[in-house]
């Protein structure tokens, strides 16, 4: 309710066309920036290993190469296998459009809240897991079963931290939450710190990064995400690669807008305000890419059956955050 009320106030002053343009710009920007973020993380990892590493533009070249290649389909591939990449990409892109990356109050952000984002990502994962099993290879099934196990633990943790943030800000609406964090004297709150840790854990798990999964591995038997997409090729694989890059960007932006919302533009900002906000957003992403690279290098991948403990910790952090809030408010 709150969201709708704010929505009217949000783009009312700006004009529908301008609001739509800004939203379109945001969607284009996340799509363009996502491969770069992946490239930067890879570059950071390479440099930390004292390797030269591929250019940060390599993910773009990979995408162009994949789009130019023909699709090789297994004989028994069903329509599901062929349509899943587009569904996954679309769901992830829409989810990314709902996140206030550099500005709050974007026109689409009023159509869905944090729970919708979680659901969209969950839907994309459901499609991918089904597609992984569609061909019937053992690796697809192995990857799908691992992915779903991880998801079944990551999603409750995600919802718990959503509640935690929502109780503080009084809304699950990301724009409202970010605006609240930006304008109200929230101060240092234990609950929010717990939620931040939980979100970082969930982000690592959701994006299949070390220590949960290793995106750089060639070992079929250890793969989670990669095992499901082993049978994909050509433009299908390009869609999936782009979707996972978008997902990484989405989570990085989410952490940024929830916990480090400084510099976000808001509806009615001047063009310079938007430009400044975009610059700041890029800065935040760079820092997070560096941190992710460092984390991935400093830790080994955990055993598959350790992942529940890891995600269980995220859930407990989220739950503790919620409980602390209740206690401090005396119900």
């Amino acid at each position: 309710m709150n969201g709708i009320a704010l929505a009217g106030a949000g783009w009312g002053g700006q004009g529908l066309l301008a609001a739509l343009l800004i939203q379109a710009g945001q969607m284009a920007l996340v799509l363009l920036a996502a491969p770069l973020l992946v490239g930067i993380v890879r570059k950071a990892k390479a440099r930390l290993q004292r390797r030269r590493g591929a250019s940060v533009l390599q993910p773009y070249r990979d995408l162009r190469r994949l789009l130019g290649k023909e699709v090789v389909l297994a004989e028994n591939a069903s329509w599901l296998f062929r349509t899943a990449p587009y569904a996954i990409f679309a769901a992830t892109w829409v989810a990314a459009a709902l996140v206030p990356t550099f500005a709050t109050g974007l026109i689409f952000s009023w159509t869905g809240d944090l729970i919708v984002i979680t659901a969209l990502l969950g839907g994309a994962r459901f499609a991918l897991a089904l597609a992984g099993m569609d061909i019937g290879t053992s690796f697809g099934g192995l990857g799908a079963s691992r992915e779903v196990m991880i998801a079944s633990l990551a999603e409750p943790a995600m919802l718990m931290l959503v509640f935690c943030v929502a109780i503080v800000a009084g809304s699950t609406q990301l724009s409202s939450v970010a605006a609240y964090m930006l304008t109200q004297p929230v101060g240092l709150r234990v609950s929010l710190a717990l939620a931040l840790v939980a979100l970082c854990i969930v982000a690592v798990a959701e994006n299949g990064r070390v220590p949960v999964d290793n995106p750089a591995t060639h070992l079929e038997l250890t793969m989670v995400h990669e095992a499901m997409v082993l049978e994909y090729s050509g433009r299908h694989l390009a869609m999936i690669e782009l979707a996972s890059a978008l997902k990484l960007l989405l989570f990085a932006s989410l952490i940024g807008c929830l916990f480090f919302p400084f510099g976000l533009a808001h509806a009615g900002s001047a063009w310079t305000g938007y430009l400044l906000a975009i610059g700041l957003w890029c800065g935040k992403l760079l820092v997070m890419a560096g941190l992710l690279g460092t984390l991935e290098l400093s830790i080994a991948k955990m055993r598959v059956f350790r992942v529940p403990n890891f995600l269980g910790a995220a859930f407990m952090f989220g739950l503790l955050g919620v409980l602390l809030l209740f206690v401090s408010r005396g119900m």
Binding site: K45, L48, Q49, R50, R51, S138, F139, G141, L142, S145, V210, P211, N214, A216, T217, H218, L219, E220, L221, T222, E296, L297, S298, I299, A300, K301, M302, R303, V304, F305, R306
Partner: protein, 487 residues
């Protein structure tokens, strides 16, 4: 100077008696191979009265097979099963009573016509909820081909069955009838990563067969090369094992060090892997003053750079969590199979050919043979780490005491005689067994048995009860040779 042994022609009863001793654990099977119409078995007596003296410990039993069959040893002693299957594939001699009648190296594609090969009958699997995962023979990484058939209950591996033989090159056939220089080149290519050890084993066996002794400087230079090879491989393995647990930092560090070792080898001996540098009668290249200095620099560099890496390995809890307790092999199994190298020494089998055979120059050097009991991935890593330290110490001693003198007996001066020779050398993987029969200066029959023959079966045992995702880690910690095994 080389491994002392005696070869005796035996009858079927004595053959069975030797098999009894193997089953009872009194002796260890070194190898089992064939010639046309004859089958040989080499056994090592680790407990006998001669053991301390180092003489008469290796015995070769030869059994004539006029009916093209021989009593199976593998029927009662599992380590012989794959060797006997290979004997049947390569020489058509039938191991009587061997329950596993499937071919091993022969994939049904050796015929002239391109007849499609019959499907290989994998071991049957029964039980609810079990599923199979076929992996290979082509893998996603740049490694050799081999097929692994996992039977799993969810993530837990119930059984792993290996199928090897994809890189069969016909080494035995190529070696038969080859003149010595050509044969030495073939032997050097049995397994590229242990080319020095293969060449060394072949050269020693030939020298014993011809009853000649290489110059002293060559003997020491061979040991230098063998230790440099061991360093390069152990460093590479250490990094690769950690990388399989997604700890790529260690791979980066170890990769740099391994590269330094290989470049030093190229500087000193003119080839990164030192291929064809060890030849029958001596060594092909000398170590000059610049090479000596480069080796001294290398030892100093590794002395400085390895300890921090050991600390990094030991202090990274997430890595320890992956390696400790993973892929355990029991000491009993290791003893039964006589597994050498880090696989054996990580599970209590203190066998090192350098110490047990005591060939020159190792009899004049002081070094330890690190032995651990745990038998897991972590123990295999630690054996490698300790062996790196020992190899550095050995290199220091070798460089200090390097004698001067001639390098080799020229090929033209090698006797054109006949004879038999045997060698057991310590490759980085473990003991490499070579037996050669020479006739008129040519190889009549040469058998090389890589340490992997007795390590591959233990990998099947190691993964049992572990989860599928831990297999790459176990596999890398074994790092068995495909090429050396498939011959």
């Amino acid at each position: 100077m080389s491994a002392h042994y005696r070869r005796t022609q035996v009858d079927a009863a004595a053959w069975e008696e030797a098999a009894d001793a193997l089953v009872a654990g009194e002796t260890t099977l070194l190898s089992l191979w064939a010639e046309i119409g004859c089958v040989h078995m080499a056994v090592l007596d680790e407990t006998g009265p001669d053991a301390a003296a180092g003489g008469g410990r290796i015995a070769i039993l030869s059994l004539d097979c006029p009916d093209a069959c021989f009593p199976s040893v593998g029927r009662r002693h599992p380590p012989a099963i794959r060797l006997e299957r290979a004997v049947r594939d390569l020489f058509g001699l039938v191991p009587e009573g061997l329950p596993d009648t499937r071919p091993w190296l022969d994939h049904g594609r050796w015929g002239e016509e391109s007849v499609p090969a019959a499907a290989y009958p994998f071991l049957p699997v029964e039980g609810d909820g079990l599923h199979q995962i076929p992996v290979g023979p082509v893998h996603a990484g740049i490694i050799e081909p081999g097929h692994f058939r996992f039977t799993c209950d969810g993530e837990t591996v119930v059984r792993l069955e290996e199928r090897l033989g994809y890189v069969h090159k016909g080494i035995d056939h190529l070696l038969a009838g080859a003149p010595l220089p050509a044969a030495a080149r073939i032997a050097a290519r049995v397994s590229g990563d242990s080319t020095v050890a293969c060449s060394l084993g072949f050269a020693r066996a030939v020298e014993q067969g011809l009853d000649i002794a290489p110059p002293l400087r060559a003997v020491w230079l061979r040991a230098v090369m063998a230790e440099v090879e061991r360093l390069a491989n152990h460093l590479g393995d250490w990094g690769a094992i950690c990388n399989d647990a997604a700890f790529s930092l260690m791979l980066a560090h170890c990769g740099v060090l391994r590269e330094r070792v290989l470049r030093t080898a190229a500087t000193c001996f003119g080839h990164r892997l030192m291929m064809d540098r060890v030849v029958p009668g001596g060594v092909a290249v000398d170590l000059d003053a610049a090479g000596l200095a480069a080796l001294h620099d290398l030892v100093a560099l590794l002395r400085a750079r390895v300890p921090p890496l050991v600390k990094l390995y030991d202090d990274t809890a997430s890595l320890q969590d992956r390696t400790v307790g993973t892929g355990r092999v029991s000491p009993a199994l290791v003893a039964q199979f006589g597994a050498g190298g880090f696989v054996g020494r990580a599970a209590g089998r203190a066998f090192d050919a350098r110490r047990a055979i005591g060939d020159a120059p190792y009899d004049a050097l002081s070094f330890e043979v690190p032995v651990l009991q745990a038998g897991d991935v972590n123990a295999r890593v630690w054996v490698r780490i300790r062996e790196i330290e020992q190899s550095l110490s050995l290199l220091e001693q070798l460089l200090r005491g390097l004698p001067t003198g001639p390098l080799r007996i020229p090929d033209d001066d090698l006797p054109r005689g006949s004879g038999e020779g045997l060698a057991l050398v310590e490759a980085f993987r473990g003991d490499l067994f070579v037996w050669v029969r020479l006739e008129a200066g040519q190889v009549r029959r040469c058998h090389l048995r890589d340490a992997s023959w007795f390590q591959w079966p233990l990998l099947e045992a190691a993964i049992e009860g572990n989860i599928v995702a831990d297999f790459p880690l176990c596999n890398k910690s074994f790092n068995c040779s495909y090429s050396g095994h498939d011959l």
